[in-house]
Symmetry: C2
DNA sequence: AAAGGGTCTCGCACACTGTTCGAGCCGACT
DNA sequence: AGTCGGCTCGAACAGTGTGCGAGACCCTTT
C-alpha cells in the first residue's frame, strides 16, 4: 500500500481496527507519546525507534496501529486542534467569541510549534478539526454570516492565527535555540543591519525613530497579534453591517481599489 | 561547530568566503538547483546526495559552500522571498500597493509550497527578506503609519498571506497527490461527513444551505483569500482614519470588546 | 482437548539520510 | 621550486522509515 494513494486511504476515512487481543499499545497512547517527544525536542526528536523505546516496545510494533509516520503526525495535529476552545454563540458577543477562538488557536500552535510546519502538508479533517469547524460555523452564523462569506470569515480568523503563530514561532525558536536574550540578539544583528542600511533607508529611518525595543519580545509579539486581530474583526464587523445583508450571494466586492 | 550555536553563526551574519580557486560550484548555483528539486518533488525530493549528482559533483562538496542542509534551506527561503514584488509608494494607492504585495507573497508561497513548512523554524533575515521589509515600511509610511503600529500592520498583511497560503497549500497538495478532481474528493469525504453529521449540526445546516461546490477549488480559494484581504485592509484603513493620529504612541486600543 | 484463526509484537534487513574526516588536487603567489 | 589556501571527493558512521515473516497470545469453534 502506497503511503497515501488517495483520500479513500486517509486515516479519517478508514474504519478503525477491530480489537480483541491484548493491546499493550494503543493508537491514543502512541499519539500522546509522540506529542511529548515533539513538544520536548521538536520535529527531529521524533523517530519511530525512539518512540518505540519510550513506550517500552519495538519500533515496528507501532506500524500495527499507525500506517505511517506521516499518518501519526496527522493524528497528532488533530490532537492539538482538540485543545482549542471555541465558545458557544450565546456565551459572549460574537466579537469576543471570535477573539477567544483565535487566541486559543494561536496558543495551541505556540504550545506545539511543530504543528506549524505540518499544517501545509495535508488538509486536516480529523474529528477535532471538524468540531472546530462546527463551533466556528455556529459562532459566525449567530453573528449573521451565511453562505460563502461565512466560510471566508472563519478562514480569515484561522489564517491570522496560523500566520501570526508562524512568524512568532520563528523568533521564539531562535531565542530558545540560541539561549540569548532579546538584547543580545539585537546586538548581534546590529552590525549586519548597519551594513545593509544604505539599501534600506526607509526601514532605517523607521528603526531610528521608533528607537530600541523597550519591551520584551513576548509583549511585542502579543501586541502585534492583538493589533491584527482587532483590525480584522473591525473589517468583518464593517462588512457585516454594510454589505452583509444586501449583497448576500453575488460576487464579492474585491479588487475594488 | 554545532549546527547553530547562536545568531552570530547565522548565514546572514557571517562574512562570505574568499574566492580565488576554480569554483565549478557556487552557492547560488547550489541554491538554485535545490529549489528546482524542491519545486519538482517537495521537501522529500531534496537530499544532499541527489543535489550533488544533479550538479555533477560529489555530495560532500556542497559542504564547502554551505554549512548545513538547514542553512541551504534558509538560503532557498530567502531566494523565494526575492520573487515578491512590492510597489513603490508613489506608484499606486496605498491600498492597492498592499494588495499587490500580499498577492505576490501568496503567489510565491504557492509556487514553492515547501517554503511554508520552513517559515516557522528560523526568522529569515536574508537580503531579500530585508528588502521586503524595507519596501513595506516605505509603503506603509507613505500611507500614514508610524511607530509600532506600522510594524503591526505589515505583520498583519504578511500573516494573512502566510496563513492563507498554508491552508491553500494543504488542499492543493491533497488534490495533486491524489490526482483526483474536486468532485471526486467531495464524494470520498461525503460518507465520513454524514457519519459525523449528528455531532456537527450547525456545519451540516450550513453545508445544506450553501449547496454543493459549484465553482472549482482554485476560484473558491482565490475568493477566500481576497475576501479576507479586503476585510483586513478595511480594518487598517479604518484604524488609520479613526485612531491613527490621536493615539499616536500610547497603548494600542485592543481588547476593547 | 484440540485445532484454527485473528490480533498484535518484534528482530532482521534494505535502501537511504546528513555529516565528519582526511586525503588529495589545482592554481596562484613567493 | 615550493608552499599555501581554495576546493573536491570517497569512505565511513550513526541514524532514519519501513517491508517482511516468524512467532506469541487469546478467543472461538469443533
Amino acid at each position: 500500500m502506497r503511503s497515501s494513494e488517495g483520500f479513500t486511504g486517509s486515516v479519517w476515512l478508514r474504519p478503525p481496527r477491530a480489537q480483541t487481543g491484548q493491546p499493550a499499545l494503543s493508537r491514543e497512547q502512541i499519539v500522546r507519546a509522540a506529542m511529548e517527544l515533539l513538544d520536548a525536542e521538536g520535529p527531529s526528536g521524533l523517530s519511530m525507534r525512539r518512540l518505540g523505546t519510550k513506550l517500552g516496545s519495538g519500533a515496528t510494533s507501532l506500524y500495527w496501529h499507525v500506517a505511517n509516520k506521516d499518518e501519526l503526525l496527522e493524528l497528532a495535529v488533530d490532537e492539538v486542534l482538540g485543545e482549542i476552545y471555541v465558545p458557544e454563540p450565546g456565551d459572549t458577543t460574537w466579537r469576543v467569541g471570535a477573539s477567544i477562538s483565535a487566541n486559543g488557536m494561536r496558543a495551541a500552535l505556540l504550545r506545539h510549534p511543530w504543528v506549524i510546519g505540518l499544517l501545509g502538508l495535508h488538509p486536516t479533517l480529523g474529528p477535532n478539526a471538524m468540531r472546530l469547524g462546527e463551533r466556528l460555523v455556529a459562532l459566525f452564523t449567530a453573528a449573521g454570516f451565511t453562505g460563502m462569506p461565512l466560510s471566508h470569515a472563519t478562514a480569515l480568523l484561522n489564517s491570522h492565527a496560523i500566520g501570526s503563530a508562524t512568524s512568532e514561532a520563528a523568533v521564539r525558536s531562535a531565542l530558545k535555540r540560541t539561549g540569548k536574550t532579546w538584547e543580545e540578539v539585537a546586538q548581534d544583528v546590529e552590525p549586519y543591519l548597519e551594513r545593509l542600511a544604505p539599501d534600506n533607508p526607509n526601514y532605517e529611518k523607521w528603526r531610528q525613530e521608533t528607537g530600541p525595543m523597550r519591551k520584551d519580545p513576548d509583549q511585542v509579539l502579543d501586541e502585534t497579534y492583538a493589533f491584527g486581530l482587532e483590525r480584522l474583526l473591525d473589517g468583518l464587523e464593517m462588512w457585516l453591517r454594510d454589505d452583509g445583508a444586501p449583497a448576500a450571494d453575488g460576487d464579492i466586492g474585491d479588487r475594488r481599489g
